[in-house]
Amino acid sequence: MKKIFEIFRDVFSNFIKHLFIISLIIYSIMYLVPGYTKFRPALRYPISYFDWLFKFCTFNLFNKDVISRYLNTLSLVMGSILLSLLIILILIYLKKSFSGIWVKMIINILGFSSGLHILVLGIVFYLLFRKTGVTPGVFFILAIGNGVLIEMYFTSKAEIDKILSKEYVLAGVAWGFSPIKFAFNEIAITIIEQSIARVPILFSSTIIIEYLFNIKGLSYTIFTGIVNKDYDAIILATVLISATIILLNILSEKIRFYIDPRVKYGTE
């Protein structure tokens, strides 16, 4: 219980620091846009900023619409990460077990498809399934486009190979354990770090997917806000997205600190 409280306090303090800085930067950029300060003179900038920050922290700026849009975008991102993790683990298992050429062919095809940008993939899928009215494979597009899946595959495979060739894993095998059970903690940490590192790219890709497939998400809010000059919505949406990314980044840093005793006790 004490440990959980410590972790929570650590993460929260870092999160608040980063959130303060990034919301300040975003609010300042928007405040400088001509047209936004029509009814907000420059001298009132600190007051309006802290007023906005207070409302944000006490959840007064959120309504059902904003929350549902946020959850839509978050589900797109998380769904694509989970799908790509699943595919990666299957591919790694197949590559280790089978020495056939067909596994290499699949990986080469996926590598080639990483050059297909999400825009191109999305347009092709949209045109193919426009008449049916169904949008299948949105997570698949998000995972494959921009090379998220293939980059994650290569980095995860290299890291897992490195971990499985470490000395303590060899000792575990010599003592009758399965290598994956023995090295599970370290493999889990690297996979979590790899997947969290891809989150910013996925958030920026959701804007294209939401535009193409008409999904009501947070990134689409930014896009419509730009067209309709709805600055408040833009600020709220960008700060929400940046807060999510900052939180995930802090978590990925702290995970290694709290789970790996070598980092905690300072030997690495």
Partner: protein, 326 residues
């Protein structure tokens, strides 16, 4: 059986390599022609083509006049793809150059100067429990290095924050920011691409910082300073040229690919290049609005092959960088 499999694999790899190399030659030749404004087709990319009854010539068959045919709205696809090459390349170059410039600047500033002298001095003071006023009189480190430490800490925090933010959203925010100040959309696009390079620079900065840390761990920098080399020589010759040149090259190629994607995306959303500059995003916008037809293969093929070409060169340079670093 094994030999057959190996042969198939090698044939497949050689075919891919051949396609890649031929596309590189085609791309470079067409790019040079478009940069020198050589006209290759009779029709203009800006205007749709109408028949004698005033209807748009939709989906005309492939011929010498229309090598890729026309799309739903009557635009000649070949001249659009050809004109889009120039736009795409120029705006990607702006991004890549700003990316390299700021990446090296931040990387060297934080990696080389941060914690090198000011930080060592501060740590020395803290470990020795010496009276600070006495120490300031005795040592040769000036106060300004302590101030530089604070600036570098601030830069480091900002770099970490911008590194974790989705860049496309930042760029879209900058469009509103620039909307009120600049009228011309093409200049706006150039500035946006510059901002994209600037916001991506922390990635390169972190890699350069990692390399410098590795050199420092091997006492390379300390021995270079003790041999009397100036900071400029250490940074330019030893760090950037000997250690980081392949890294910079492959990040340059990678950023060209990313920037070409960004340019197409922005034009697709009508925030990018406007007439008279033609972009591939304009083609994709027309394709999105029109019914499905197999002529979309041509522009999509060129867009994907261009991006793949940049990514492939980046991979090849990355492999060379890894081999050299070992």
């Amino acid at each position: 059986m094994e030999q057959n499999k190996n042969n198939v694999n090698s044939i497949y790899k050689n075919v891919l390599r051949g396609i890649f190399i031929t596309y590189v030659f085609i791309y470079i030749s067409f790019l040079l022609l478009s940069l020198f404004n050589v006209k290759l087709s009779r029709s203009e990319p800006i205007y749709p083509i109408f028949d004698k009854y005033g209807d748009a010539l939709r989906f005309t068959p492939i011929s010498l006049r229309f090598p890729f045919g026309t799309d739903y709205f009557g635009f000649d696809l070949f001249s659009q793809v050809y004109a889009g090459l120039k736009t795409n390349f120029i705006f990607s170059l702006i991004t890549a150059v700003t990316f390299i410039f700021f990446g090296i600047l931040f990387g060297v500033r934080i990696g080389y100067y941060y914690r090198s002298r000011a930080g060592d001095f501060k740590r020395f003071i803290n470990s020795q429990n010496i009276n600070q006023t006495h120490c300031k009189q005795v040592t040769y480190y000036p106060d300004i290095w302590l101030k530089k430490l604070k600036v570098d800490t601030f830069i480091k925090i900002v770099v970490n924050i911008f590194d974790s933010f989705p860049l496309l959203l930042l760029v879209l925010m900058m469009t509103i920011f620039l909307d009120g100040w600049i009228r011309s959309t093409n200049i706006k696009l150039a500035l946006l691409m510059g901002f994209y390079g600037l916001f991506s620079a922390p990635r390169l900065a972190k890699m350069i910082i990692g390399k410098i840390k590795g050199l420092r761990a091997e006492d390379f920098i300390l021995s270079a300073i003790s041999l009397g080399l100036s900071n400029r020589k250490i940074i330019w010759k030893h760090i950037l040229w000997y250690e980081c040149r392949y890294l910079i090259l492959y990040q340059f190629a990678y950023m060209l690919g990313q920037a070409s994607i960004l340019e197409v995306t922005l034009t697709f959303f009508n925030f990018g290049a406007q007439f008279p500059w033609i972009s591939w995003g304009f083609i994709l916008n027309n394709v999105y609005k029109a019914p499905l037809h197999f002529y979309i293969v041509f522009p999509i093929f060129f867009i994907t092959m261009t991006i793949n070409m940049y990514m492939k060169t980046a991979e090849v340079l990355k492999d060379i960088a890894e081999i050299r670093s070992k």
